[in-house]
């Protein structure tokens, strides 16, 4: 009974709709199936057509310059991208990377907690000074050994502190206090380009921080 009521009701509405639309009932189903749903419009309708922009020489110059500036910024050292983690090596990878300079900012103008390089400058300077002096003088060996000892001792505590430091949230007071005023960039740059040197001389200092150069390289890229 309810079915009949429902059936009756529905046929009633159908009939009234069909009457209102002025078409036969059996046509309605056909129309519904044929009706295609179009995607919405790409641009919303405006009441009036907008005034097109007048390209004066000013604006032309501005737009050309902006394109150049944009491209420059994107290719500069400041454009920071996350390293892509993709196990599959693709052939086109080597054509799609953009060569950029290493990020190199004068750190004396910023709070020292922002320094991201792992090894401290002092250590780098000392190790370089050491490597150069090796070729010069044999009597310097003793001095060198002393300094090595010193460095190993300091290195242990520093190495331990620096590494968990990067993972912890706060910058430690100690590393901040030890940082000198001069820009880190200069020395560190030389340090990293010295791949050749670090492989060439293996003067036994590498136990505490062996491969620190490699670590830094891996970190930078």
């Amino acid at each position: 009974m309810s079915g009949r009521g429902r059936g009756g009701g529905s046929s009633n509405t159908m009939r009234s709709v069909a009457n209102a639309l002025g078409i036969a009932r059996y046509d309605m189903a056909k129309m519904m199936s044929q009706q295609k749903i179009e995607p919405p419009e790409l641009y919303p309708k405006v009441q009036r057509n907008p005034v097109p922009i007048e390209m004066t020489t000013d604006l032309l110059y501005v737009s050309r310059l902006k394109v150049e500036l944009d491209q420059r910024m994107r290719d500069s050292q400041f454009f920071i991208e996350a390293e892509k983690e993709d196990e599959i090596k693709r052939y086109l990878d080597k054509y799609s990377i953009i060569k950029r300079e290493k990020l190199d900012i004068d750190m004396s103008q910023m709070p020292s907690e922002l320094v991201w390089r792992r090894t401290s400058k002092k250590e780098a300077k000392e190790s370089r000074a050491k490597k150069r002096k090796i070729a010069n003088d044999d009597s310097m060996l003793k001095e060198k050994l002393n300094r090595l000892e010193e460095k190993e001792g300091k290195n242990d505590e520093e190495g331990d502190e620096e590494k968990p430091d990067d993972d912890k949230d706060s910058g430690s007071e100690k590393s901040a206090a030890e940082e000198e005023e001069n820009p880190l960039s200069d020395d560190d740059n030389q340090e990293e380009d010295n791949d050749y040197i670090s492989n060439y001389f293996d003067n036994g200092e590498g136990y505490g921080d062996g491969g620190s150069d490699d670590n830094m390289d891996g970190d930078e890229y």
Partner: protein, 542 residues
Amino acid sequence: MGGGKYETQMCVIIIEDIFGKIVAKVMETILKESCQLATLMLKLKGQMTTVLIKKALTTLINFGFVTFNLDNNHRATYVADADQIQYVISAPRACLIAKTLYGPTAESICIELISQGRLTVSETIRRIKAADESAVWSDIKNAFGELAASHFLIRVPPVESEIYGCPQFVANFDPFAMPNAIMEKNETNSSELSTSDSNSRKRKADSSPEDADAGQYWRLNWVRFNGYLRDELIIDYLIGGESTATMTHLNVKREEGEEVPQVDRTQYITQNVAHLMFKINETRANPLSLENITASVTDLQRLVRENSLDLAKPDIELACQILVDESDGIVRKLGDSNGGLYTVDIRHAIRQICRHHCESLIREQFEGRAIRVMRLLESRHYLDEEQVEKLSMMSGKEAREMLYALVEEGYVFNKPVGRSTDFQPARTFYLYYVDLPRTVRGLVEYNCKLVRNLILRQRHERAENKALLDKDANVQPIIENIRQSDASEEEKELSIKEVEEMYLPGPDRAQLNRYRRSQATLLAAQDQSIRVLLAFKMFLTI
């Protein structure tokens, strides 16, 4: 700060366009809430490594988008500066101003400073020489000096000491003083270099131990550029047409005996006099101060002589008179001292400019009659619906339509005033009124949304046409080679055509042209909308 939702989004998208997603994410976090490094790391914990966060933060500080200071607990807090970010879009316009005022070397200086954030004088010189071999050392230095003297460049305060790991800056110093000694080219110092230990390996030809002016960093003084743009806007409004082109033309040093095109004498006179009035204001301490500019006729005469224009005293007086009559209250005559004292009312001018923009927006969205209604309401403050109908001489239905449309878009507001103690609809007056600051605030947000959409659209187009652009970039060197080879003109043309056909067939080339045109339009639109945004923001500070 205090930007709305769309303003923050716009800033983030600007940064993402030039620095990448990582920096944009860091910027967004700081924009939403200024915080310390620890908090920042906590918020971005899973998304990026700490090294990347630090790098991003140093980049932002380098460009001045983020500043830091020590709070009470002796920790450095980082605060974002939304205004600095918005100046990035007007960067090309700043270069244009520098170029027309001081020549192409000034333009290169500006470009270097924009792309690097801050540089010392020596570094700027080195970079320009690296990019362009033909640049002359003394030229660059002179241009730098000129820019600094007219306050377009400003020095970053030098580091004085360090407290709790945070550098403190010198409080009082002259922000426009040029350094006394600038590093000379390396040839003179190479003998010293070889003896010093740390530089015995000369990796890069230009690496030097210490510049004479190391640590004295310069950056663009956007406040001053904004002041200049504001002056341009006002003159545009006052005179219109090609007036701003003439303004920069005025400042360019002209050769002797060059003919100035005398198109329309009155136009010429009024333009130049208006520009001179603004020139008087030029190197004031705060270029964005809203004080009125006062200029007397003798002052103007002096400037005329300095800039070698051929304007006689009666010409100047005529121009001032025209300005007073036509400018609708912006230029006024104060008195007769010194041959006539005139003042430019900047607040009034900016208000007029904003009203003008509102009106043109209304005209675009609705009809001319809506403007009539709005002007009526502005002059009469609070009006009832019936009164609007009567005073604007439109039928009831039309008046009601206009009013409702204006309220919907936020140009006109509604205030219910009750006749009796309760707000029964039949017994309350509904008064309509115009509140320009409130409208302009809404328009600022709208504008930010517009700029953001423009940038996104441009990015989308760039991504779509990336393949074509790459192909084009590959073809260009080939064409260059052909041009430089020693073949005859005809052969060169032929081979260029062949190459083009091979790499970039017809439809591709058409697509490329279409892309270039659309890019130019989008960027021009960005530039224009930022100018309007500047006007709106200045109005809100009145």
